[in-house]
Protein backbone atom coordinates (compact mmCIF):
# COMPACT_ATOMS: atom_id res chain seq x y z
CA UNK A 1 0.00 0.00 0.00
CA UNK A 2 2.86 2.31 0.96
CA UNK A 3 4.69 1.54 -2.19
CA UNK A 4 1.55 2.27 -4.14
CA UNK A 5 1.19 5.66 -2.43
CA UNK A 6 4.78 6.51 -3.05
CA UNK A 7 4.33 5.48 -6.65
CA UNK A 8 1.29 7.72 -6.81
CA UNK A 9 3.36 10.61 -5.48
CA UNK A 10 6.10 10.05 -7.99
CA UNK A 11 3.98 9.39 -11.03
CA UNK A 12 0.76 11.21 -10.24
CA UNK A 13 -0.02 12.08 -13.81
CA UNK A 14 0.58 8.64 -15.27
CA UNK A 15 -1.28 6.81 -12.49
CA UNK A 16 -4.23 9.18 -12.65
CA UNK A 17 -4.49 8.36 -16.32
CA UNK A 18 -4.20 4.64 -15.52
CA UNK A 19 -7.00 4.77 -12.91
CA UNK A 20 -9.20 6.77 -15.26
CA UNK A 21 -8.81 4.11 -17.95
CA UNK A 22 -9.35 1.39 -15.35
CA UNK A 23 -12.57 2.97 -14.08
CA UNK A 24 -13.88 3.29 -17.66
CA UNK A 25 -13.04 -0.33 -18.20
CA UNK A 26 -14.83 -1.37 -15.00
CA UNK A 27 -17.94 0.69 -15.84
CA UNK A 28 -18.03 -0.81 -19.32
CA UNK A 29 -17.76 -4.29 -17.79
CA UNK A 30 -20.59 -3.55 -15.35
CA UNK A 31 -22.81 -2.28 -18.15
CA UNK A 32 -22.01 -5.34 -20.20
CA UNK A 33 -23.03 -7.41 -17.18
CA UNK A 34 -26.38 -5.63 -16.99
CA UNK A 35 -26.94 -6.16 -20.68
CA UNK A 36 -26.20 -9.84 -20.22
CA UNK A 37 -29.23 -10.21 -17.93
CA UNK A 38 -31.68 -10.83 -20.73
CA UNK A 39 -35.15 -9.39 -20.28
CA UNK A 40 -37.79 -12.11 -20.28
CA UNK A 41 -40.91 -9.95 -20.01
CA UNK A 42 -41.80 -6.29 -19.68
CA UNK A 43 -44.86 -4.39 -18.58
CA UNK A 44 -45.96 -1.17 -16.95
CA UNK A 45 -43.37 -0.75 -14.22
CA UNK A 46 -42.35 -4.37 -14.57
CA UNK A 47 -39.17 -5.88 -15.91
CA UNK A 48 -38.48 -9.56 -15.46
CA UNK A 49 -34.98 -10.72 -16.29
CA UNK A 50 -33.20 -14.03 -16.50
CA UNK A 51 -31.70 -13.25 -13.10
CA UNK A 52 -35.20 -13.21 -11.60
CA UNK A 53 -35.96 -16.53 -13.29
CA UNK A 54 -32.82 -18.02 -11.73
CA UNK A 55 -33.87 -16.65 -8.35
CA UNK A 56 -37.30 -18.19 -8.79
CA UNK A 57 -35.72 -21.65 -9.02
CA UNK A 58 -34.79 -21.40 -5.34
CA UNK A 59 -38.45 -21.41 -4.36
CA UNK A 60 -39.39 -24.54 -6.24
CA UNK A 61 -39.15 -27.86 -4.42
CA UNK A 62 -36.28 -30.01 -5.66
CA UNK A 63 -38.50 -32.86 -6.74
CA UNK A 64 -40.25 -30.56 -9.22
CA UNK A 65 -38.32 -29.90 -12.40
CA UNK A 66 -40.20 -27.23 -14.33
CA UNK A 67 -39.50 -26.44 -17.94
CA UNK A 68 -37.78 -23.16 -18.71
CA UNK A 69 -41.06 -21.83 -20.06
CA UNK A 70 -43.08 -22.64 -16.95
CA UNK A 71 -40.32 -21.22 -14.76
CA UNK A 72 -40.51 -17.95 -16.69
CA UNK A 73 -44.27 -17.90 -16.29
CA UNK A 74 -43.98 -18.50 -12.55
CA UNK A 75 -41.47 -15.68 -12.26
CA UNK A 76 -43.66 -13.24 -14.17
CA UNK A 77 -46.66 -14.23 -12.02
CA UNK A 78 -44.63 -13.66 -8.88
CA UNK A 79 -43.55 -10.23 -10.05
CA UNK A 80 -47.02 -9.07 -11.18
CA UNK A 81 -48.61 -10.30 -7.95
CA UNK A 82 -45.94 -8.50 -5.92
CA UNK A 83 -46.63 -5.33 -7.89
CA UNK A 84 -50.38 -5.70 -7.30
CA UNK A 85 -49.74 -6.27 -3.59
CA UNK A 86 -47.76 -3.02 -3.44
CA UNK A 87 -50.43 -1.18 -5.43
CA UNK A 88 -53.20 -2.42 -3.15
CA UNK A 89 -51.15 -1.81 -0.01
CA UNK A 90 -51.45 -5.38 1.18
CA UNK A 91 -49.74 -5.90 4.52
CA UNK A 92 -47.00 -8.45 4.45
CA UNK A 93 -44.70 -8.93 7.43
CA UNK A 94 -42.36 -11.28 5.60
CA UNK A 95 -41.79 -8.70 2.86
CA UNK A 96 -40.70 -6.12 5.43
CA UNK A 97 -37.70 -8.15 6.48
CA UNK A 98 -36.58 -9.24 3.04
CA UNK A 99 -35.11 -7.57 -0.02
CA UNK A 100 -34.73 -8.14 -3.74
CA UNK A 101 -36.49 -11.07 -5.33
CA UNK A 102 -37.13 -12.65 -1.93
CA UNK A 103 -39.24 -9.61 -1.06
CA UNK A 104 -41.14 -9.89 -4.33
CA UNK A 105 -41.77 -13.54 -3.63
CA UNK A 106 -43.05 -12.80 -0.12
CA UNK A 107 -45.31 -10.07 -1.42
CA UNK A 108 -46.76 -12.33 -4.09
CA UNK A 109 -47.51 -15.04 -1.50
CA UNK A 110 -49.25 -12.50 0.75
CA UNK A 111 -51.26 -11.23 -2.21
CA UNK A 112 -52.37 -14.69 -3.25
CA UNK A 113 -53.22 -15.64 0.33
CA UNK A 114 -55.41 -12.60 0.73
CA UNK A 115 -57.17 -13.14 -2.59
CA UNK A 116 -57.85 -16.77 -1.71
CA UNK A 117 -59.34 -15.67 1.61
CA UNK A 118 -61.54 -13.16 -0.16
CA UNK A 119 -62.59 -15.60 -2.87
CA UNK A 120 -66.33 -16.15 -3.10
CA UNK A 121 -67.54 -19.67 -3.60
CA UNK A 122 -70.55 -20.77 -5.59
CA UNK A 123 -73.80 -20.90 -3.64
CA UNK A 124 -74.20 -24.29 -2.02
CA UNK A 125 -70.54 -25.30 -2.52
CA UNK A 126 -69.80 -25.80 1.17
CA UNK A 127 -73.19 -27.31 1.91
CA UNK A 128 -73.02 -29.77 -0.99
CA UNK A 129 -69.57 -30.94 0.10
CA UNK A 130 -70.87 -31.48 3.61
CA UNK A 131 -73.93 -33.40 2.45
CA UNK A 132 -72.09 -35.46 -0.16
CA UNK A 133 -69.46 -36.47 2.43
CA UNK A 134 -71.86 -36.85 5.32
CA UNK A 135 -70.27 -40.14 6.41
CA UNK A 136 -67.09 -38.23 7.26
CA UNK A 137 -68.99 -35.91 9.55
CA UNK A 138 -70.64 -38.46 11.80
CA UNK A 139 -69.91 -38.32 15.52
CA UNK A 140 -69.20 -41.30 17.83
CA UNK A 141 -72.94 -41.98 18.11
CA UNK A 142 -73.44 -42.03 14.36
CA UNK A 143 -75.15 -38.62 14.34
CA UNK A 144 -74.36 -36.02 11.75
CA UNK A 145 -72.36 -33.16 13.22
CA UNK A 146 -74.00 -29.80 12.52
CA UNK A 147 -72.68 -27.57 9.79
CA UNK A 148 -71.54 -24.80 12.11
CA UNK A 149 -69.20 -21.93 11.31
CA UNK A 150 -66.10 -23.94 12.26
CA UNK A 151 -67.14 -26.78 9.96
CA UNK A 152 -67.98 -24.32 7.19
CA UNK A 153 -64.50 -22.80 7.40
CA UNK A 154 -62.90 -26.23 7.37
CA UNK A 155 -64.79 -27.26 4.23
CA UNK A 156 -64.22 -23.89 2.60
CA UNK A 157 -60.48 -24.36 3.09
CA UNK A 158 -60.61 -27.77 1.40
CA UNK A 159 -62.45 -26.36 -1.61
CA UNK A 160 -60.21 -23.29 -1.82
CA UNK A 161 -57.09 -25.46 -1.63
CA UNK A 162 -58.30 -27.57 -4.53
CA UNK A 163 -59.10 -24.44 -6.51
CA UNK A 164 -55.95 -22.49 -5.61
CA UNK A 165 -53.82 -23.49 -8.59
CA UNK A 166 -56.48 -22.64 -11.16
CA UNK A 167 -57.38 -19.45 -9.31
CA UNK A 168 -53.76 -18.35 -9.17
CA UNK A 169 -53.31 -18.89 -12.91
CA UNK A 170 -56.45 -16.86 -13.66
CA UNK A 171 -55.32 -14.11 -11.33
CA UNK A 172 -51.91 -14.00 -12.97
CA UNK A 173 -53.48 -13.77 -16.41
CA UNK A 174 -55.67 -10.85 -15.30
CA UNK A 175 -52.72 -9.03 -13.73
CA UNK A 176 -50.57 -9.57 -16.80
CA UNK A 177 -53.30 -7.91 -18.83
CA UNK A 178 -53.65 -5.11 -16.30
CA UNK A 179 -49.93 -4.33 -16.35
CA UNK A 180 -49.69 -4.97 -20.10
CA UNK A 181 -46.97 -7.53 -19.69
CA UNK A 182 -45.45 -8.65 -22.94
CA UNK A 183 -43.06 -11.52 -23.43
CA UNK A 184 -39.77 -10.41 -24.88
CA UNK A 185 -37.92 -12.07 -27.73
CA UNK A 186 -37.09 -15.63 -26.83
CA UNK A 187 -39.54 -15.51 -23.90
CA UNK A 188 -42.80 -17.42 -23.66
Amino acid sequence: MLSLLSLLGENKGRLGYFFLVLSFFLIAQAEAGVEKAKIVAKGEGIVVTEVDVKEMKRYIPRFIVPTERSLEKMTVCTVVMAKAAQAEGIKCEQAEVTTGFEQLYSLSRCYLKQKLEEMRLKKGAVESYYLAHWRRFLDENGKLRPLDEKMRQRIRKLIVRAKAGRFSRQLCKQLMQKYRVKWCEGGS
Partner: protein, 148 residues
Protein backbone atom coordinates in the same frame (compact mmCIF):
# COMPACT_ATOMS: atom_id res chain seq x y z
CA UNK B 1 -71.82 -30.47 -62.35
CA UNK B 2 -71.40 -34.18 -61.56
CA UNK B 3 -68.49 -33.32 -59.29
CA UNK B 4 -70.63 -30.85 -57.37
CA UNK B 5 -73.33 -33.49 -56.89
CA UNK B 6 -70.80 -36.01 -55.63
CA UNK B 7 -69.34 -33.48 -53.19
CA UNK B 8 -72.83 -32.57 -51.92
CA UNK B 9 -73.65 -36.24 -51.47
CA UNK B 10 -70.42 -36.86 -49.54
CA UNK B 11 -71.08 -33.81 -47.35
CA UNK B 12 -74.60 -35.04 -46.59
CA UNK B 13 -73.35 -38.51 -45.71
CA UNK B 14 -70.66 -37.07 -43.40
CA UNK B 15 -73.10 -34.63 -41.70
CA UNK B 16 -75.67 -37.40 -41.35
CA UNK B 17 -73.15 -39.72 -39.79
CA UNK B 18 -71.93 -37.08 -37.34
CA UNK B 19 -75.45 -35.98 -36.38
CA UNK B 20 -76.61 -39.58 -36.22
CA UNK B 21 -73.80 -40.58 -33.90
CA UNK B 22 -74.12 -37.56 -31.65
CA UNK B 23 -77.88 -37.70 -31.37
CA UNK B 24 -78.20 -41.40 -30.59
CA UNK B 25 -80.12 -41.37 -27.31
CA UNK B 26 -79.21 -43.48 -24.34
CA UNK B 27 -81.47 -46.41 -23.73
CA UNK B 28 -82.59 -46.14 -20.12
CA UNK B 29 -83.93 -49.16 -18.37
CA UNK B 30 -85.31 -49.38 -14.84
CA UNK B 31 -88.32 -50.61 -12.91
CA UNK B 32 -91.02 -47.97 -12.70
CA UNK B 33 -90.88 -47.96 -8.90
CA UNK B 34 -87.12 -48.00 -8.50
CA UNK B 35 -86.94 -44.26 -7.78
CA UNK B 36 -89.92 -44.40 -5.43
CA UNK B 37 -91.26 -40.92 -4.77
CA UNK B 38 -88.02 -39.25 -5.80
CA UNK B 39 -89.24 -37.88 -9.10
CA UNK B 40 -86.90 -34.92 -9.18
CA UNK B 41 -83.95 -37.22 -8.67
CA UNK B 42 -85.18 -39.38 -11.54
CA UNK B 43 -85.58 -36.34 -13.80
CA UNK B 44 -82.10 -35.06 -13.06
CA UNK B 45 -80.57 -38.50 -13.41
CA UNK B 46 -82.12 -38.97 -16.87
CA UNK B 47 -81.18 -35.46 -17.90
CA UNK B 48 -77.61 -35.72 -16.65
CA UNK B 49 -76.81 -39.00 -18.39
CA UNK B 50 -78.55 -37.92 -21.60
CA UNK B 51 -76.43 -34.79 -21.64
CA UNK B 52 -73.27 -36.76 -20.96
CA UNK B 53 -74.11 -39.15 -23.80
CA UNK B 54 -74.80 -36.25 -26.16
CA UNK B 55 -71.55 -34.60 -25.21
CA UNK B 56 -73.27 -31.50 -23.87
CA UNK B 57 -70.58 -31.06 -21.29
CA UNK B 58 -71.37 -27.53 -20.14
CA UNK B 59 -74.98 -28.34 -19.32
CA UNK B 60 -73.99 -31.58 -17.64
CA UNK B 61 -71.43 -29.65 -15.60
CA UNK B 62 -74.22 -27.46 -14.18
CA UNK B 63 -75.79 -30.63 -12.77
CA UNK B 64 -72.63 -31.57 -10.91
CA UNK B 65 -72.60 -30.66 -7.21
CA UNK B 66 -71.62 -27.03 -6.59
CA UNK B 67 -68.46 -28.08 -4.72
CA UNK B 68 -67.37 -30.19 -7.69
CA UNK B 69 -67.96 -27.25 -10.02
CA UNK B 70 -65.75 -25.16 -7.78
CA UNK B 71 -63.00 -27.70 -7.20
CA UNK B 72 -62.68 -28.93 -10.77
CA UNK B 73 -63.66 -26.08 -13.03
CA UNK B 74 -65.25 -26.50 -16.44
CA UNK B 75 -62.02 -26.81 -18.42
CA UNK B 76 -60.69 -29.66 -16.32
CA UNK B 77 -64.09 -31.34 -16.41
CA UNK B 78 -64.13 -31.11 -20.20
CA UNK B 79 -60.67 -32.63 -20.43
CA UNK B 80 -61.71 -35.43 -18.10
CA UNK B 81 -64.79 -36.31 -20.12
CA UNK B 82 -62.74 -36.34 -23.30
CA UNK B 83 -60.98 -39.38 -21.87
CA UNK B 84 -64.20 -41.30 -22.40
CA UNK B 85 -63.70 -42.57 -25.90
CA UNK B 86 -66.61 -45.00 -25.75
CA UNK B 87 -70.23 -43.93 -26.25
CA UNK B 88 -72.85 -44.61 -23.60
CA UNK B 89 -75.46 -46.84 -25.15
CA UNK B 90 -77.53 -48.31 -22.31
CA UNK B 91 -78.01 -47.41 -18.71
CA UNK B 92 -79.92 -49.57 -16.29
CA UNK B 93 -80.75 -48.61 -12.73
CA UNK B 94 -80.88 -51.74 -10.62
CA UNK B 95 -81.33 -50.26 -7.17
CA UNK B 96 -81.76 -46.86 -5.53
CA UNK B 97 -80.78 -46.57 -1.89
CA UNK B 98 -81.00 -43.37 0.09
CA UNK B 99 -79.27 -43.72 3.48
CA UNK B 100 -80.15 -40.08 4.13
CA UNK B 101 -83.02 -38.04 2.69
CA UNK B 102 -80.46 -35.77 1.01
CA UNK B 103 -78.21 -38.49 -0.38
CA UNK B 104 -78.90 -41.37 -2.74
CA UNK B 105 -76.80 -44.05 -4.35
CA UNK B 106 -77.93 -45.67 -7.59
CA UNK B 107 -76.56 -49.04 -8.61
CA UNK B 108 -76.14 -48.88 -12.35
CA UNK B 109 -75.21 -51.18 -15.18
CA UNK B 110 -73.98 -49.38 -18.24
CA UNK B 111 -73.17 -50.51 -21.74
CA UNK B 112 -70.60 -48.52 -23.67
CA UNK B 113 -69.84 -48.77 -27.35
CA UNK B 114 -66.16 -48.52 -28.09
CA UNK B 115 -64.11 -48.56 -31.25
CA UNK B 116 -64.93 -51.21 -33.84
CA UNK B 117 -68.35 -51.65 -32.18
CA UNK B 118 -66.81 -53.30 -29.16
CA UNK B 119 -69.24 -53.34 -26.26
CA UNK B 120 -68.10 -52.79 -22.74
CA UNK B 121 -70.31 -53.44 -19.69
CA UNK B 122 -69.55 -51.52 -16.51
CA UNK B 123 -71.22 -51.54 -13.12
CA UNK B 124 -70.97 -48.39 -11.08
CA UNK B 125 -72.52 -46.53 -8.20
CA UNK B 126 -73.99 -43.19 -9.17
CA UNK B 127 -74.25 -40.75 -6.26
CA UNK B 128 -76.63 -37.84 -5.92
CA UNK B 129 -76.98 -35.15 -3.29
CA UNK B 130 -79.89 -32.82 -2.57
CA UNK B 131 -78.93 -29.22 -1.93
CA UNK B 132 -81.53 -26.46 -1.47
CA UNK B 133 -84.21 -28.69 -2.98
CA UNK B 134 -82.23 -29.66 -6.08
CA UNK B 135 -80.56 -32.96 -6.82
CA UNK B 136 -76.95 -32.77 -7.99
CA UNK B 137 -74.65 -35.43 -9.33
CA UNK B 138 -71.64 -36.37 -7.22
CA UNK B 139 -68.73 -37.15 -9.48
CA UNK B 140 -66.40 -39.70 -7.98
CA UNK B 141 -63.21 -40.91 -9.56
CA UNK B 142 -60.52 -41.53 -6.96
CA UNK B 143 -57.94 -42.13 -9.67
CA UNK B 144 -58.35 -38.71 -11.27
CA UNK B 145 -59.88 -36.74 -8.44
CA UNK B 146 -58.71 -38.04 -5.08
CA UNK B 147 -59.45 -34.60 -3.62
CA UNK B 148 -63.16 -34.94 -4.35
Amino acid sequence: MVRRWILTLIALVVVGAVVGCAATPVEFNFRSDVFGSKNRLKQNFLRYWSLRAKGEVETAFALESPYIQEMLGLDYYKRYLKLYKARLQKLEVKKVSCPEPFYCELECRSVWMGKKDRQDVRWFKDRWVKVSGNWYHVLKDPLFFPQL
